[in-house]
Every structure is written in C-alpha cells, then in structure tokens.
Symmetry: none
Subunit: 109 residues, 2 copies
Amino acid sequence: MISKRLSELRKRKQWSLQYIADQLNIAKSTYAGYESGYRQPSLEAVKELATLFGTTTDYLLGATDEEQPSIELTRPTVRLTVDGEAVTEDEIIQLIAFIRAKRDIENKK
Amino acid sequence: MISKRLSELRKRKQWSLQYIADQLNIAKSTYAGYESGYRQPSLEAVKELATLFGTTTDYLLGATDEEQPSIELTRPTVRLTVDGEAVTEDEIIQLIAFIRAKRDIENKK
DNA sequence: ACATTCGTTCGCGATTCGCGTACCTTCATT
DNA sequence: AATGAAGGTACGCGAATCGCGAACGAATGT
C-alpha cells in the first residue's frame, strides 16, 4: 500500500529515487525498496516522507483513501489550520463570504 | 514518541495491555514493547492502533500534535469547495493571505 | 564511444521483530 | 492468611527484516 502511494507521488513530482534518498539521508536502494515493497520504511522515515511529499502519514499508510478529500467549507466538519494555527469559525464565515463575493463579480463580467 | 502517545491514550481509556493485544492479535509483551519504546510497531499495527484509539497515524507518529484530523490550508492536499464549487488554488492562496494579514493585525494590537 | 543518470535487484551483516516465559504487585475471594 | 486472577515489566530466543553497497541494463547527454 505505502509502496504504491510513494511511487505514485514521486512520479507525479518527477523526482528521482536518488533525490528522495538524499533528502532522507538513506541509500537509493533503501528507498527503492520502499517503492518496490521489498522493504518497509521506519516510522521516522514515514513521517519524513509525508512531510517531503506534502501529504499525511494517514494517506501514505492507507489509513485514508482520500488522496484529495473534498471539504465543503459551508458545512464545517473538519478543523482548518493555517501555519498550524486553527482558523476560527468566524474567520471561516468570512472566507466563505469572500469567495462568494469574488464569484459574484466574476459572473457579472 | 509513539510510545508516549500510546501509553497516554491507553491510560485515558483505561484499557489494559492485554485488551489491546487481543484487539490487534499480538502478544501482550509485544504491545508492551511499543509503550516502553523497546519495540516499534509495524506500519500495519500503527494503522490499526490509530483506528482503535480513534485518532490518526499522524498523531501517533508525532507528525502532528492534533489528536483529531485537521486540514492545513498551506498544504495542497485537500480539495476545498464552497457551495459545491471548487475553490481554486489561487483563491486558497488569497484565503491564506487573508488569514495571515488578519492575524498580523491582531498581533499588533 | 564514453560517461552519466535512472531504476532494479541482490547478498551481506546488523538490527529488530514477535513470542513465550518468568517475575512482581495489586486486588478480590475464600 | 492463603489463593488465584489480572495488570504491568523485563528478558532470551529464533526468525524476520532492516539499510547498505555493489552490480546491472536501459536511456540519455557529451
């Protein structure tokens, strides 16, 4: 599962095995093993890979299948953060208003 | 890191080592090793533990400090919608700028 | 033609896994 | 007090898996 996701993400970003290996300070063959399924990354490596790919460990491990989960802002079911800090409910309301207004202007052109 | 989180969560739920071991179909001593830091759970076990505790693998691994899932806007891992319509990448950038500016003003008060 | 980069595979030594077992407390029952 | 069940901890063992370097073919650039 993780091997598939790693391979997929890396190809999309057009990164080489060597590049990732360098980022994590491991051997190219080691990372190659992750993608081929021949080896399993350490928990620490999983964490670093998630950061590198800009995704979550949950996605890499297949704890969630949603690669790009769709979140409807007007029905807030999930916590939003910016720079790690929570976005308040009031702010979300403002964001929605902002988006709607922007679209409104676009539509009148 | 994971040992600390596991121990913390288990104690809060008042579960015994044996109970968790049974749930995952592993030996009590194996799970005990996870909590003591003497052993590291497999990726599969991490996934199951996250499910069992009702949290995320990101939290267990220390990739985040949030027990409940949250969406970081500055990372392009999520598709956002407002009124069912996708929020574009550019718009998200604007939202982030908006939030940051707002916070900046708050901080200068 | 040659060198470089990329991805794949393998063997090796070292590490770490998961298990059973033993041990010590604590607590409830007799 | 004696017994036994249950929770938590620590250890030794064989087996499994790790990370690495090396070697290889294919593709590309010089």
